[in-house]
Amino acid sequence: MAMLELENIDVHYGATQVLWGVSISVGAGEMVAVMGPNGSGKSTILKAAMGLKKASAGRVMLDGEDLRGKSATVRPQRRMSIVLERRRLFPRMSVRENIMLGAYTRTGAEARRSFDWVLDILPEIKGHLNATAGKLSGGQQQMVAIARGLMADPRILLMDEPFLGLSPAMVKNVYAIMQMINARGVAILFNEQNAKMSFAMSHRGYLLEGGRVALSGSGEQMLEHPEVKRVYLGLREEAS
């Protein structure tokens, strides 16, 4: 049984429907990538999974339990966490406070242990712990957001464009972190525009188009798929 399961969900913003019967599943310890053009509904999927956006039809299951009608806060208690798009830090609190709040559902001792660990793997943050989060640079904020997401010691982590705004070196670092925690058994559902990178690192992938799942399969299958190859991997030739 999959750990997280979105079954046939529809999502509306007001009168506008943006997801149409989307089904996505993430097994325990799996790394799953979502791809798709701008506006295809990737962020919306993650928000719906986290309960930040209500599905108007279909259901979201965690560990086989139907989460419909349950508050968003039950998810962090079940050790599910999210790194939100456009960072969404607490802009006027310090970086330290921001990160600590990621462990909101855990005890003080656990939180401190995680805190040390997070600083170990994202050392760039160390110099800014007392800075006001909203004043950090774009990329620094992204790192803090990732750090906050890790603090929950999640069993399943949702990440919306985790590499956005990061320098190439940092991208590599975060990439490594994702692989490391995944290797420790943390399931990850993320969305990222770099198809090659995301499908290469994932067990499975989904391709979204216009709010519908257009394609899905294992990471390799996705990489090999002619459609993906043609549209998403052909950048280098054209760009240079």
């Binding site: 939100l84 607490f90 462990a103």
Partner: protein, 291 residues
């Protein structure tokens, strides 16, 4: 001006100021944590006034019991108001002004409701603390001195909760991005309600302290509300400590302004001071810690 006269003005200013501080810090707390500008704050004060009138005067309960029950009810009432009229709005895009509008509407509603229920007469509440302190030429009833002391104690307690406890940190986190707070598992909605209740309690304390002096009436909140707002701006928006300091300052300014100008210009002077400050220090006089 004699020394006694000067001291009197000073003490009067501090007393008025402590109420401004109490009202202002309540508004600042809610604003600082939830970005909600609550125009119905004055009506919480007014309702608490009627409650203490009911318990302490009409029913004749002992002051302490009456106060505790009044505060308990006003806290619940505050929570109810927040849940019913403010919380639902916070999910909207353009909520900031909608909340202002809704609370203005609510304020008028409660005011005229109170007038319909209790009439427009001013109802006196006897002094809780009898006796007068006489030092030389200076005469000050205990009731007034108590206002100042209790107000300061209550505000200090609030500050400790806000800046020294985990609850305080949770409150401040929620203030800054409720969706993100939700994402880390903080029940943001409950936090908002809790903060509102604390602020209602501050208004309740102000009402209990004030009711013997100003008499309970449907409009008792209005003038304090505007002064409370002025204090919030002067102190630096949303800053709890700033509001407290600015409250005392405004009280002193008013007290001394009466000594040097005809009384009817007092509020003109107070509000002109506010605008003058905005000209030179847009972010307030005390760039206190932001909540």
């Amino acid at each position: 001006m004699s020394t006694a006269n000067f001291l009197e003005l000073l003490i009067n200013g501090l007393i008025t100021g402590s109420i401004y501080a109490l009202v202002g810090s309540g508004i600042a707390l809610v604003y600082g944590t939830t970005r909600v500008l609550n125009f119905a704050h004055g009506e919480l004060l007014m309702l608490a006034g009627y409650l203490i009138l009911l318990f302490a005067v009409t029913l004749g309960w002992p002051l302490l019991v009456a106060s505790v029950i009044t505060l308990a009810i006003i806290v619940v009432l505050g929570a109810g108001i927040q849940r019913l009229t403010i919380a639902p709005l916070l999910r909207r895009n353009d909520w900031a002004f909608q909340v202002v509008a809704a609370t203005i509407g609510l304020s008028i509603f409660l005011q005229s409701g109170a007038q319909l229920i209790w009439g427009e007469q001013f109802q006196a509440v006897p002094y809780f603390f009898p006796g007068i302190v006489v030092i030389g030429d200076l005469r000050m009833p205990w009731q007034r001195i108590a206002i100042c002391l209790i107000a300061v104690a209550v505000m200090a307690a609030c500050a400790i909760v806000l800046y020294r406890t985990k609850l305080g940190r949770i409150i401040r986190a929620t203030a800054q991005d409720a969706e993100a707070a939700l994402a880390v598992g903080i029940p943001a909605g409950l936090v908002h309600t809790a903060v509102f209740s604390i602020s209602a309690a501050l208004a309740g304390v102000a009402a209990i302290l004030l009711s013997p002096l100003i008499s309970v009436n449907p409009w008792m909140g209005t003038s304090y509300l505007l002064k409370g707002f002025a204090v919030v701006i002067l102190g630096g928006l949303g800053s709890f400590g700033g509001a407290v300091a600015a409250g005392f300052l405004l009280g002193l300014i008013e007290s001394f302004s009466v000594a040097f100008a005809p009384s009817e210009w007092r509020d003109v002077i107070a509000f002109t001071f506010l605008i003058a400050v905005i000209w030179v220090r847009p972010n307030g006089l005390f760039s206190g810690r932001e909540a």
